[in-house]
């Protein structure tokens, strides 16, 4: 299946990804020990597999190859997470920037304000694809980056946004 995927067979590749997803998800969950970011890390791992597909050697077993990618991505995740923790969310969003309505649910205006709290690149990726309705291809072209890079930004954007929402409204966004 992976050999077909390397040859450019999208159908075989989609099946392979479907098969790999639960495996990677379970490995990631065991590594993160129930942390909320396991889905994000799973997707990061799959992007890693996507980027490294050409390096898979047909005469070698698949598992060590995948395990190494998961290991790298998990190490990256923990490195980034420890840096993020140093920066308080208070620096990202101040209460004054947000509307002061009594509701605990974010209003449409708040969503815009919340997006502004994200780093520029992540904000643009989300605005272009989620609010302006551009396709990933169009948005990637507009940003001058590749589609996988755009997807990574979107994924990180959601991650950041979720933290901001949780912090401001004290609700778990799923």
């Amino acid at each position: 299946m992976i050999a077909k995927a390397q040859g450019g067979d999208q159908q075989a590749y989609a099946e392979l990804l479907e098969l790999l997803y639960p495996y990677i998800q379970s490995v990631v969950r065991s590594k993160l020990g129930g942390m909320a970011d396991s889905e994000d890390l799973t997707q990061e791992c799959l992007i890693g597999i996507h980027k490294n597909l050409s390096t898979f050697q047909k005469d070698r077993p698949l598992k060590p190859w995948i395990s190494a990618i998961i290991r790298y991505k998990a190490a990256d995740y923990f490195r980034t997470r420890s840096k993020r923790n140093e920066q308080s969310l208070d620096d990202l969003v101040t209460n004054e920037e947000l509307s002061t309505n009594s509701s605990t649910e974010p209003s449409a205006q708040d969503v815009r304000t919340l997006l502004q709290a994200l780093p520029d690149k992540l904000e643009r990726a989300l605005v272009l694809t989620q609010l302006e309705g551009l396709s990933y291809e169009e948005a990637a072209k507009k940003e001058g980056i590749t589609e996988p890079a755009l997807r990574k930004r979107i994924s990180r954007g959601y991650l950041e946004l979720r933290k901001v929402v949780k912090h401001r409204f004290d609700i778990e966004w799923k």
């Binding site: 997707q43 395990s67 990256d76 997807r151």
Partner: protein, 215 residues
């Protein structure tokens, strides 16, 4: 985080036919290209040292140094390309082989003070040999980064140093043939730049990783 189904669909749609990564082929291409381009650049500025071919035939120690040097360079380059395959580990035998080649080269260089070597003198001296080695080595490092630009990677730090060694050894060894010969001069001006190229190779790789994460 994207919806699982949409995410997998997007990845599948993004798939393009892959050119399989073959470290052996990449190494051969890289080493040959580096030798040819370095030699051309050196010739552009100045001819090779007169009688360098005679020196290679006449002095087995000198020939051995050049052979060991290029073998070590190719070996390092091969492993750098191998390490881009996730999960690749060197076996003990492969590590020992690398250390033996490196130690052999170091011994050969040191023995040049005691064993028969080409006549010491200023014949063929190049005014900027050190800077040339540094410049060509830098180009070698950049070409390494270019060849591997599409691959997502995470290699532990010390492995990057092999990139600097490989990229620096090609011009250093060619400089032995094109510049004046003197053991001390070889060590300082030809091999010396390796001390800078190794950290530069590590630096460029860390920078690349940094920007990849930022994106």
């Amino acid at each position: 985080m994207m919806d699982k189904k949409a995410f997998l669909e997007n990845l599948a749609k993004d798939l393009k036919p892959q050119q399989p990564w073959r470290p052996g082929r990449e190494t051969l291409l890289w080493v040959l290209l580096a030798i040819v381009l370095n030699a051309m650049a050196m010739l552009y500025f100045q001819n090779f040292r007169p009688h360098f071919a005679h020196d290679l035939i006449q002095y087995p120690r000198f020939t051995l140094e050049i052979i060991l040097g290029f073998s070590f360079c190719a070996y390092s380059a091969y492993w750098i390309f191998q390490f881009f395959i996730p999960g690749t580990q060197m076996t003990l035998r492969q590590k020992v082989m690398g250390w033996l080649l490196g130690a052999g080269l170091a011994l050969s260089v040191l023995s040049s003070f005691y064993l028969d070597s080409p006549d010491h003198g200023r014949l063929g001296a190049r005014p900027y040999c050190l800077e040339e080695v540094l410049l060509y080595g830098l180009i070698g490092i950049l070409s390494f980064q270019f060849v591997t630009r599409k691959i997502d990677f995470n290699i532990s730090g010390w492995k990057y140093s092999m990139m600097g060694l490989s990229a620096g050894l090609v011009p250093a060894l060619l400089m032995h043939l094109s510049c004046m010969y003197s053991p001390m001069h070889s060590i300082i001006a030809h091999y010396g730049p390796l001390l800078l190229l190794v950290p530069i190779a590590m630096g460029t790789t860390y920078l690349r990783r940094f920007f990849a994460r930022k994106n």
